[in-house]
């Protein structure tokens, strides 16, 4: 049932991706109502699927991340009055759901932990923090693309379809500033859970290293934006570098800590 629901989600997200990317392939843009209805329908089915899922292991975490991303995409599109975020978010969410299905949606060895509220909150807040970091990355990537087109005086699809630079910069800032407390809480809950229920769960060193590294990177990105007043292109590059570093470290750790069903 969970896999079937995820396959439906995958189909809906995949269709939404095809629709948003159509103008870049020289096809007619889909009606806006349809471009919103498809990810909305996908997210609704996704919520049902997640509610039946035990939030432990790689597959469930990726699925949860995809849902957060789609919900953030829908919210930011309302904020930006355009569908630009979906150019990145829709294929990314589709890919994440596909990976989740491939890596298995059954809970890992620590299924018992999923019954603990500390653990569930830790996963939920950490995934939300990561999704916001991904959103900051998407806003930064859109910013750099639009920036390049505006500087090069090209007035094609990117100029027409992407939001104004200032709004993308605001979205990047908002995503970072909102993502940092979410991830901080997620890390604190993990520490609290470790202290409260030590011995009940084996926490891999890699998971701790990655979690703290991600928190430090996100903290740095927020610091340069808020304290050092970085903005525009420099801030966008910092967001992309930070997100890229987090992904690279995850992949490196994942390669040294094999196990398809484990998050790390």
């Amino acid at each position: 049932m969970i896999v079937t629901l995820h396959l439906i989600v995958l189909a809906l997200y995949g269709l939404a991706t095809a629709l948003v990317l159509a103008p870049f392939m020289g096809l007619r843009a889909a009606p806006r109502a349809l471009a919103i209805a498809l990810p909305c329908a996908g997210a609704a089915v996704h919520v049902v699927a997640i509610s039946q899922l035990t939030l432990v292991g790689l597959g469930p975490a990726l699925s949860m991340l995809a849902l957060c991303l789609v919900l953030l995409q829908l919210a930011s599109e309302r904020l930006l009055r355009g569908s630009a975020v979906s150019f990145f978010a829709a294929p990314l969410a589709t890919g994440l759901v596909g990976l989740a299905i491939l890596s298995g949606l059954a809970p890992g060895a620590e299924a018992a932990a999923a019954r603990n509220m500390w653990f569930v909150l830790h996963v939920a807040l950490s995934v939300l923090g990561l999704a916001l970091m991904a959103l900051a990355f998407i806003a930064a990537a859109l910013y750099l693309l639009q920036f390049r087109e505006l500087k090069a005086r090209r007035f094609g699809q990117v100029f027409q379809l992407f939001p104004p630079l200032e709004r993308l910069d605001q979205l990047n800032r908002f995503a970072l500033v909102a993502g940092f407390p979410a991830l901080t809480l997620g890390v604190l809950l993990a520490l609290g859970y470790g202290a409260e229920f030590s011995g009940g769960l084996h926490v891999a060193k890699a998971q701790v290293v990655w979690g703290i590294f991600t928190w430090v990177v996100l903290g740095w990105a927020v610091w340069v934006r808020v304290v050092r007043h970085w903005a525009g292109r420099r801030a966008a590059l910092a967001s992309i570098a930070g997100f890229g570093a987090v992904l690279l470290v995850y992949v490196a750790l994942k390669l040294t800590q094999p196990g398809a069903e484990r998050f790390l």
Binding site: L150, F159, P164, L165, E166, R167, Q170, H229, G232, R233
Partner: protein, 432 residues
């Protein structure tokens, strides 16, 4: 563009020039004539044989509308434009240009004034530019071009009110607003300064003002004009030199001076923009002037987004997609009005002139007949009647060929020159 052969006398209507389709911006910049250059340029072409001339010089076109024979007036235009090219050759200018004659020339101007020939289809600014060109050349225009430009403005208005060719925002000024919007998002509360006090700058500033942009400064070489615009926009008028430090704080700069070279240079504002005061905040510079006002090197600064007229017209061109559907209706109006003008031009005063000529000749005949009959008092009434019939027949014979020739030329749309010649020959007032 082809046309009919010229008529006798003052020559046919011609348009000779370059536009955005035939010449790139850097060539058009060289050919552009400021208002102060118009009288001298026209005087030179008219000295070469044109009997009337209007010079329409905008950022998209430099066109001489002439009543002239093909040569040497047209050669004078090519030579005048060619002197502005590196290497200074008439042949060089001809490479970028075109000539339209008679009916095609009329249609051309009507298409220009209605925005059908604009880079931005249906843009309305050209209407004002046609009016300004006509007014600047009024002394040299002559009756035919006077009428042509008057009707061209009427055609422009008709097209804009009777078709949807002017729908949406498709002028360079509104494109400037669209580009600024892509940088800043919401424009309300942003600040802008204006360099130059021309209509183009004022139009762009008004468009930005409508979006909530605060126009802070209007800088111009002539303070009076700057003050007038500043007053309308709620801004402060300053000299150009006083404006440079304000590049450190403004969000948008509109440049549209009539300077023949760049005035916003790296030396003047590079340090101000690149300095710490802006903290990397974007600066959108809309260079609406031809020749360009802004040194293109300034675009190398990361925070500077510099757009010239060609860029803005590219943006606005997207808006033309919807206007394209209106082209057939607009072309119908242009064709209809061209027919009307051509009928006027062809038959310009022919009937009244023929009547006037006959009347003059008849008065002359009656006067001479009376004098002759006074000396021939011995003639019987029958003989007197026979002499009178003879004088009338002779007059009819004399006038038959000129009348037929004039009517034929009028029907072929070539009556004006012949008419003018006839009026001169027979000592009548020139046509109004």
């Amino acid at each position: 563009m082809t046309g009919q052969t010229d008529m006798a006398g003052g020559g046919g209507i011609k348009v000779v020039g370059v536009n955005h389709r035939t010449a790139p911006l850097d060539v058009r910049e060289r050919f552009a004539h400021g208002a102060h250059e118009v009288p001298r340029a026209l005087a030179r072409v008219m000295a070469a044989g044109a009997s009337g001339g209007v010079l329409l010089s905008t950022c998209n076109r430099t066109e001489f509308y002439l009543v002239a024979d093909d040569e040497p007036a047209l050669e004078a235009v090519w030579s005048l434009l060619g002197e502005r090219l590196p290497g200074a050759s008439a042949g060089g200018a001809r490479e970028y240009g075109y000539i339209a004659r008679d009916r095609d020339a009329v249609r051309h101007l009507y298409r220009v004034s209605s925005g059908l020939d604009s880079m931005i289809l249906g843009e309305s600014q050209i209407q004002g530019q046609v009016r300004e060109a006509w007014e600047a050349s009024r002394a040299q225009a002559g009756p035919v071009l006077h009428r042509l430009f008057q009707t061209a403005l009427h055609v422009g208005s008709r097209v804009r009110t009777e078709t949807g060719l002017g729908m949406g925002t498709a002028s360079a000024a509104s494109a400037g607003v669209a580009v600024a919007g892509k940088i800043f998002g919401d424009l309300a509360g942003r600040s802008a300064l204006i360099l130059g006090a021309g209509d183009m700058a004022e139009l762009a500033a008004t468009c930005l003002n409508d979006e909530g942009v605060q126009i802070t400064l209007v800088a111009n070489r002539t303070p009076e004009r700057a003050r007038a615009i500043a007053e309308r926009l709620g801004a402060r008028a300053v000299s150009l030199d006083e404006a440079w430090p304000h590049f450190a704080t403004t969000d948008i700069a509109i440049c549209s001076t009539a300077a023949p070279h760049a005035v916003v240079t790296w030396e003047r504002v590079g340090g101000v923009i690149g300095g710490g005061a802006r903290r990397g905040r974007p600066l959108c510079i809309l260079d609406l002037a031809v020749p360009r006002d802004v040194d293109p090197a300034l675009a190398q600064l990361e925070s500077v987004f510099l757009y010239d007229v060609d860029d803005l017209q590219t943006v606005a061109a997207h808006a033309t997609a919807r206007r394209r559907d209106e082209i057939p209706a607009a072309e119908r109006i242009v064709e209809e009005e061209t027919d009307l003008f051509w009928a006027w031009y062809g038959g310009l005063g022919v009937v009244p002139t023929i009547k006037e000529l006959r009347q003059r000749m008849d008065d002359l005949r009656a006067h001479e007949l009376e004098r002759a009959l006074r000396q021939l008092g011995h003639l019987s009434p029958e003989d007197r009647a026979r002499v009178e019939q003879f004088s009338e027949a002779l007059l009819n014979k004399f006038l038959h060929h000129p009348t037929v020739a004039l009517k034929t030329a009028a029907e072929a749309g070539r009556g004006y020159g012949l008419l003018e010649a006839m009026r001169r020959l027979f000592g009548m007032e020139p046509p109004a």
